[in-house]
Subunit: 304 residues, 4 copies
């Protein structure tokens, strides 16, 4: 019996009522009930070190780079010269790490959960890779909506929404509404670009993408979807870009040129691959045309 | 408590030593130990009716169309006028169903497991949709290698390898070798096209794609990979095309034109989406350049 | 791999929030939502054919004889010549089977769930062993309380309470109260004997035994507890005897003598073993002295 | 959702191929691969702090006292004045704790696994309760067989075999043979008493008790079995006493008298309850008459 089969400790993630994932545990590293969520960091045989929030897998050593590169590089390249960047959420520090690969001046990372960020600092060094200590980083622990509403600094060239889904009574519920996006737009530069992780792109679960793309289209002139499969998520994942000035096609050549400058620093992303991922599966394409606009009055509440 | 949570019957699929999928069972329909494999048909809450072979999920009601459309339509469109088609494996009858959407003259389906095909006929009507009874279908229960070696009929325009992985002592082990593909080539028309389902396209499991693409490249002038995510497989899935005469780019315009004729009969596939899926993730692209050729002397043996 | 490990179908029984039993399934025989409960009959590798009600194991082929012999023989021997017997519950027919080993005249079996009894008749032949067709058996499908209240026939010599636990809104909730036992007493012969299966005798779960013994002591002059371990229950099990006239010690010699007449018909029970089982573990002894009386006004509600 | 349901960390114990126990984990305390076994100490919601060896539950906070009191007190009372005691195994220190409740002069505890004992010292303080530091305790880390063979001290009045089952290639395999028991007898006083934990007393698993009782009967004039149910073992458990001079019945009155002196120090055991537990279930009684003698040449090898 090899080492792997020796362990009979399992972490169980109920995906739906009818489907559960069971991960064999190598080491149960740490757990903490923060003010906002139950955070666990576990070494899994299947995925390496892995972060779970409220029992749901957030990111795993084995392929966090796929998620984070696919989230960050499209918008950082789409904007021709991003200097001032805002990350909402992004507790692990890996989104920040990717942003700092560009010659930006300032990156605000606004995450409501200080305890979580401290856990990540200590236990997920591969994720942040020292980015919290970069002198361009400004780390703030507060509600991102409040931060944006009160922000009076230079306009943001790029805004990245790396938030957990808007679950009932969760901290992210008013961070996906038309009202919030309107305010956000007013704090962006005129050629600003926005991206959001938009949850599962799965066949059966397109409701959130539908609503989120309808909402973004209500506020921004250009909205694009793309998707990629992240093995440890066991799911096709969706992302939405909203742009104030540029279209994606007109930016392609320049994106490829600028990518050459950071090519050696990324493991997975390429512009060619990204553009292929903007060709959506038919059901996802359709879902992006039929949602309802999310508002403060009728926020979107994530159904587990 | 809703209906779904009432049931405490679960089917467990060990994916690796460190990862297990647990599916809640709605109805355990039928199981049979055939001469070649242990076949189970189960109604799952998560995926609807589902076929398992030797405990591994093969195809599920919820998204078998994604797998079967992505397997069949690229090659049926790439060949300009397929009349004589060979399917190796394909027990459920869904590959056959997709092929018959075209005005072919004859489709040979050669599957070694008659008992399995009979189970599928009876319990998977949505899969075959009557295709076994189409007068163009010729269903043969025998070893595909023997069939190909002894075949003296008209050359095949399209050949589809819809086989299970070459597990140790399994029936498919000599259906992925250079020697077999050489024989197969000699039974194909000069503009013939071949496609194989090539197993998981996952980050960690690219060894089979590597070896299979090296082997096909050793026999056929043109080899292409593509991939797509199938939710019920919980995996990105790989496919390999081998072509004797045509390149994919030169065929694109005609493929789009011919697709218009069957567009109403498919649910998921489009040429545009397919071409996007030929842009591979970087690791998969790399894996297609570094494998060893599979031979009768050194066959590829699938590691679970 | 042997036959047993081939199957990956499991039935899961949550025993508490912190403990679950997983049984590998050989064959999922039948399931039915009756008017009163969700009944499943499953062939398990560990226990053979097994009946589950609302997901909880009720009796298993491997050791149902232990439970049923230990329930029935003590009271049937304690009463010197039982002719008229009442069974409340007992849907599988195995309690009836044990009673009919004695030369009784009539056995009333009153079970509220006709659909369940019909399932048991068809799928659990080893349990009833034809006892439903014995001409001494009178099978009635109705509420046992109503039956007892309206009963005007000959007094009962022996009454056996083979009911499921009094779960919230379940049919057994008013079958464990002082008021009911008082009525029952009035329908028993002056030397009548009563026995009830009293649930788990476990260290942590003695509350029901406490309350039930207090209630019986409030109505009957003699009350005795005994217990035995039933492997498939994964639990020490408790039984309570209430007697109108006889004490257990005074009956011992006659019980042993009468047992000789049926010795060949039982597999497990002996009077010597039974008397040893009336010596209770200290915590159970204590629990039988400290409960509160269950009344119609304050019925006992079983906590899962 | 209460605290208990928050945790999705489970420890899985395969009991047989067809039956698994799943314990929800409160805290995974410590694990160590010692020279002899894989030892894990885990806080379970169901049983409190629990020790597992090679994945099998050994003793749990909730009811270790049941096992240890039932193991130790019968022999310590059966011998009229034990002064010199030997414990073989007993790593947790709880057997030692029970022995030290009597006015003995010396207790040798011989356990082969020093690393395990050190873990227990540190993490199972309720088990040993300081007994390792009692000046009457002599703790030796070596093979018990070698110790006994070379022992030249005063004869042992009481010997307690608190060993794990003789699994293949395990350290206990030659500690259950006729040859070893003959040597052991020669190191005991003429009125010496021996007890062994004898594994599961379950219906289906009586082979070890059979063989062990046959072996003891071959060496000692008096052999007795008794059993008790230990909740956290999910099993009826068997014990065997072998006595050189006394019979159990002749000792009963004195045992009850001497028990009065330590009554306040025990939680569960009473002589009355113990004597009831020497009345065996019929199958166990039978199994004690039909085993084969275990020898060095043909040792007993435990089948999981």
């Amino acid at each position: 019996m090899d080492k792997e089969s020796d362990s009979n400790l399992w972490f169980e993630e109920p995906y739906t009522e009818g489907l559960r994932f069971h991960y064999r545990v190598k080491k149960y590293v740490v757990a903490r009930q923060t003010r906002f969520q139950y955070a666990e960091i576990i070494d899994l045989f299947a995925f390496g070190r892995t972060l779970f929030l409220d029992g749901k897998l957030q990111s795993a050593e084995i392929d966090e780079h796929i998620y984070h590169e696919m989230l960050v590089h499209p918008v950082m390249l789409m904007h021709p010269s991003p200097r001032n960047v805002l990350i909402m959420g992004g507790g692990e520090g890996a989104t920040l790490r990717e942003v700092l690969k560009y010659p930006v001046e300032k990156v605000y990372m606004v995450d409501i959960d200080e305890e979580l960020v401290n856990m990540c600092k200590k236990y997920l060094p591969k994720w942040h890779a020292g980015s919290f200590d970069d002198k361009r980083s400004i780390i703030l622990f507060q509600d991102a909506r409040k931060f944006v509403e009160e922000y009076k600094g230079e306009p943001f060239d790029v805004v990245i929404s790396d938030l957990t889904e808007p679950v009932e009574e969760g901290p992210a519920i008013y961070l996906f509404t038309r009202e919030f996006y309107s305010t956000l737009k007013s704090k962006m530069s005129e050629d600003g670009v926005f991206v959001a992780q938009a949850g599962s792109a799965e066949y059966l679960y397109t409701e959130f993408i539908s609503a989120l793309s309808a909402t973004l289209k209500d506020v921004f002139p250009q909205v694009y979807g793309y998707h990629d499969y992240v093995f440890s998520f066991q799911l096709n994942w969706a992302f939405l870009i909203a742009s104030l000035k540029y279209t994606l096609p007109e930016r392609r050549a320049d994106m490829e040129r600028r990518f050459d400058e950071i090519r050696d620093k990324v493991k997975y992303f390429t512009p060619e691959y990204f553009f292929a991922k903007t060709i959506l599966p038919p059901y996802m394409k359709k879902s992006m045309t039929e949602g309802r606009v999310i508002t403060d009055k009728e926020p979107y509440v994530w159904k587990a």
